[in-house]
Every structure is written in C-alpha cells, then in structure tokens.
Amino acid sequence: MTRSDVLVIVPAHNEEESLPATLEAIRRRAPGVDVLVVDDGSRDATVRVARERGVPVLSHPVNLGVGGALQSGFRYAVERGYAIGVQLDADGQHDPADLEALLAPVRSGECDVSIGSRYVTSTGYRAPLARRLGMMLFSGVVKMALGRRIADTTSGYRAYSRPVMEVCRHDFPKDFPDAPLLIALHRRGFRLQEVPVTMREREAGRSFYTLGKKLYYPYKNLLASLMALLRRPA
C-alpha cells in the first residue's frame, strides 16, 4: 500500500447516495492521495458505502456538525503524519480535478491554507439572493479583520498545512467553520490564499444547513468573528 502525504478528508452526514460518485471521482481525477471519510452520525449506509471501497472511516456515534467532523479528520491526519489535509464535501460539489491547484500553494509554502473559491474568477456560479447577501457581509467582516478580501468565506474546499491542522485538531468551530475560522487562523499568523475552482450543484443528499441553522448562522458567525478578534491568539 502506497502512502501519500496528502489526506483528503470527506465529512459525510447521510451521504450514501452521493458518496460513491465522490470517492470514485477522487480515485480517478486525483490518484495518489489518501482519503478518509468522517461519518458524522449518519443513519444510512454511509459507513458501509465507504468501507466497501476500501476507504477508512471515522464514525461518530452522534452528529457533531461539519466542524466537529473536520476536527476529527485533522486529528487523524496529524496522528498519522500527513503533511497536508484537504477538506472536500461528500455531496459532489467539489471537483477533485482542482485538487492539484489547491495543493500547489500549500506545498510550495506560499500559504498555509488555500481556499477553493468560486469567485476569484468568473466560473458561472450564481447563488441565491439571501446567500449572496450573507457572503457579502462575511466577506466584509473578513476583509476588515484580514486587511484583504476573501471572496468565498464559506467555501468548504480547502487545503490545510500540517501546522494549521495541529492547531485545528484542538481548537475548531464545531458547526460553521467559515469566517470566524479564517479570522482566527489569520490572527495566529497563518497565511490564507484563494484559488479559483469550479463548483457544481449538489448531486444528492441534503445540505448541512437547515432552516433553523440559516437563521442562527449570521448571529453565530458575527459573534464568533468578533470573539476571534478579541481573543488573544494562543
């Protein structure tokens, strides 16, 4: 078995329908990387689907949220000696063909976190209005904190260097790892960079974000962003 120094972490919550295609896409378009599925308390066959394809699965007995799933992935990556961890959604919206572009700046040491962005160049993606407003707001918050623009603060397609993962395995937002996380990482001195990627519509399964969370999201993220600015980086 060949071991890669890159681990692709796929958080999955009830993704039995889209997971096979996602794992297959990684295998075909990004051969040579290791994959870990973090099952976040799924009630369907997510775990079996992954195991059948020979992919190791970390399985939470209850749902912790996407941040909690990633945090488990980071711990796995650090414990098993990976140099870079990539967060890739199970629902098929992230194209593994972009993986090399995402990895390149982290590998070369140009940055510590690279963020796959729909907005760096025009890639034909158009989000619903409420989401666009939210993105503008948090993009503004992040710009104030970082002094420069991150167009896609909510992108779930990111690559993290090992030092970042060492921090994040202990301290990571449990539900929405978005703007507050970027601010906290910046405050710790990590360099962030956006990389243009294409994102597709969700193939199957439901989003992590339900209606209740949609209302709670702006409150939580504004407060957490403020706290990230107020806290002294440890």
């Binding site: 973090v38 190791p56 699965v57 970390l58 399985s59 939470h60 007995p61 209850v62 912790l64 909690g68 945090q71 488990s72 711990r75 796995y76 449990k174």
Partner: protein, 127 residues
Amino acid sequence: MFLSRAQVILAVAAVGLALFVLDLVRRRRLSEEYSFLWVVATAVVAVLGFSTPLLQALTRALGILYEGSTVFAFGLAFATAVLLYLSVKLSRLGQENHALTREMAFLRLELQELRDRVAGARPGEGA
C-alpha cells in the same frame, strides 16, 4: 408582627421547595453541587417572607413600593442565576460530549483496523 397572606404563602412555598430539593439530594436524584443555588434561593425567600421588619427595610432601601415585589425580585434574581449557571454547565457538557464522541470514533476505527489485520493474518477467519 403582622404577616400578610401573600407573605405567608410565599414563605411556606419556599420552605416546601427547600425540603423537596434536599429530599432530591437524599435520593441521589440531584447532586449537592446543583442543590446549592436552590437552597440559597429558597432560604432567602423564606427569610424575607417571614421577617416583616427586614423585608420592609429592604423594600424601602431599594425604593420598591410593595414588599411582595421585593420577594419576587429576589426570587427572579436567583432563578436567573440558576439558569445562567446551567447554560454554562451545558456548554461544557457539550464540549465534553464532543470529545468523547470523537474518542469513540477513533477507537472504533482502530478496532476495525485491528480486526482487518487479524482477518488478513488468518485467512478464512473474521469478517
């Protein structure tokens, strides 16, 4: 010394609640830690309810018009304290829960890996 009917009802209710809280502790349904704020709250309400001069003095000092309001104000203050205390505890419990859940996921994976290794070493056995 004159005690109003409302005062008596409130004070008796407070004593009753205190006894109930202590009984919960006796039956190990409530830990000593969580009983503390309840006992303090009920004691204060009971003392204010039974002692008219103290209640009147306190009411005047706080600029409240009606003695009953003073008792309710203290009751409400304690209830708020208990709720806030519980929210803090709940947050910590959530964090501990997360850590344990994660630990369990890692143990499960390591168990699976060991099983696979055993099955690989002895073909024909194991799942």
